[in-house]
Symmetry: C2
Subunit: 370 residues, 2 copies
């Protein structure tokens, strides 16, 4: 599908939903949501750049003059209000709001829009109520098309290749940050747009902190090291975790690794349309509980992924959403022993009519490295 057709279809789907719930306007900032609806995005910045989608009629780009050429270049959206450096964007926005469409109804804002913009909108539209747009954007974005899945797969291939390469060379003696840099440089030079998030390398006791990033600690013999990283291809993310052992693993590590691998397999095997998100979480959690690790698995089993590295559906107890073909999410069971080590294995899976398929496929067998 070409971009123009795709953008038109996606904006129309949003407007159908806006009509149903009587929303007056949808507002997005620079974000993955803007990319999804228009083809254009960039890093958020201090110059206000918004997409205004009225309930009916054409969407409007509100852009700083400096951005106009590349927004027009990247997106088929044709309606623009442009403001110049030196003008007060809040004033220009106020005028744009009078023209964009019939604003009666709730104003929906993308969850990640900056509070600064929301405050300006609330001042400009004091009689409207405001609500999060999560409920209308997420259902659309959750179901990936074949083209989107292909990009997830390409991003996954670059992540797989980076793992193969860094485990072929010594890692003992590198700092966590140096190892992270190798993984990132590998994906970037192989054609990734960018990293999907700052790479996590959690060695030794840091492995027991699931969200430790990477620091100046040097990797030593005996360490268990979690690598958690990914990249973007045409905006779509990969996200993989592997755990490597520097030298001979202890029996406790071997046992825990095997448990995590079984939990990962159980979660993957339970993927099929009609199963709920929490069922996937229960499958992984059940295995770890049976093996005596239930109080070691201290986070959800996974998160949806696409243009954002974390997006719905979340694979967590309490989320009863039923899986559908095209949904993409991570399965990433882990166990954590404070002050000792952590182990996590993660791949992104996509739901098909016949079950799950994985976007990263490099071995999950325990890798002993030097």
């Amino acid at each position: 599908m070409n971009l123009e057709t795709q953008v038109k279809a996606r904006i129309e789907s949003v407007q159908v939903e806006m009509n149903r719930i009587r929303a007056g306007l949808l507002v997005l900032g620079l974000s993955s949501g803007m990319r999804y609806l228009t083809g254009f995005t960039d890093e958020p910045g201090e110059r206000m750049l918004l997409l205004l989608v009225p309930r009916e009629g054409d969407a409007l780009f509100f852009v700083p003059q400096l951005y106009e050429p590349q927004v027009r270049d990247a997106s088929p959206v044709e309606r623009f209000t442009v403001w110049r450096d030196g003008e007060d964007p809040a004033l220009v926005l106020r005028h744009a709001l009078t023209k964009v469409g019939d604003l009666r109804g709730t104003i929906l804002v993308e969850p990640t829009l900056w509070a600064e913009c929301l405050l300006i909108l609330q001042q400009a539209l004091p009689d409207n109520s405001f609500a999060s747009a999560a409920g209308i954007l997420a259902p659309l974005r959750m179901r990936k098309s074949a083209e989107e899945v292909e990009l997830l797969r390409r991003a996954g291939e670059l992540a797989d290749a980076a793992f193969v390469q860094v485990t072929q060379e010594p890692i003992v003696g590198l700092t966590e940050l140096q190892l992270a840099a190798k993984l990132e440089a590998n994906m970037l030079s192989a054609g990734a747009d960018s990293v999907a998030f700052n790479t996590l390398v959690a060695s030794g006791a840091f492995g027991a902190m699931p969200h430790h990033r990477a620091g100046q600690r040097k990797i030593e013999w005996g360490d268990v090291v979690i690598l958690d990283y990914g990249c973007k291809v045409d905006g779509y993310c990969s996200d993989i975790s592997r755990t490597v052992i520097c030298g001979e693993p202890t029996p406790a590590v071997v046992k825990a690794y095997d448990a995590v691998k079984r939990a990962h397999q159980a979660a993957f095997d339970s993927i099929r349309p009609g199963v709920s998100a929490q069922d996937i979480d229960r499958a992984a959690r059940g295995v770890l509980k049976n093996l005596g690790y239930d109080n070691r698995f201290i986070h959800r089993t996974g998160h949806g992924i696409g243009l954002d590295v974390h997006e719905p559906p979340y694979i967590i107890e309490g989320n009863g959403i039923f899986l559908e073909p095209g949904m993409a999410f991570s399965i990433e069971p882990g166990v954590y022993f404070p002050d000792q080590f952590g182990i996590r294995l993660e791949d992104v899976a996509v739901v098909t009519e016949l079950g799950g398929i994985l976007m990263t496929t490099v071995t999950r067998d325990m890798q002993v490295v030097g």
Copy 2:
């Protein structure tokens, strides 16, 4: 100054200002502002993680359980409210707000806080008014300490070194993205925390779009190529632009390059305490106007820099703020010829009692590369 003393002093400075303007609470999300006030930050994500600073008494971290260890590890702030995966963070937050302090007065939110959080806060505190916290955070953050300037300089040195390295090898035949990856890999492997922003490589006619990122276009003989990139060291950013010529430059390019270089020099030479931000802009703009390029310089002269790559003070007409020692900002005049080429030269300058000093110092003479 150790982190504990620094955090205490910064939070107290904020509270003094909150008392002066009768603010009831300051709320920050995962951001550079949180790092500035607490020592901790991370990439913003879907799990709500906030810092609540009451007008009096201790600041409170509102964190997902998963993050608690590394927040405690990174920050001396001791007061915590922790919520678990599976709980509704909005409910837990509502309870935390009843305990954090005397909330009478305006609730100040960091400009980049997610709209989703602001909506939750507005529901929880329906009787309070809300406003942007930009006015109290920016003045503090604008004046850098000697330690902060040292980090800006180290980030600048890594950017300088990356330029030297990539210009020693052929660039004709590389795609923009490949050249961007080389610059980024160079800074990361030399010890940067991360890139400061996605590298811009704008070749040929793309150079005329000041915010073009990097794409699949192959760099050719005859191209004028703008490189605009930077990295972070302990959170502090560098930001440099250089323009290189692939082969013999045309007379128009030579003339325009010289004009930009003179404008950069004029802006730099006008830096001293007591001069206003717009005076720096006028200095650069005046040179380009006198040389016949006034309608080619289509953006402001610069932006402040620190933990954010763009922060106050902005170097733009209309900004009458007076420069003070410790302020750090880019000077980045450029000229743009649509469908032909662009030229930009950028360095970060810091104001001292005696004038400006530059954080990047690699040559600004025209570099002819192959």
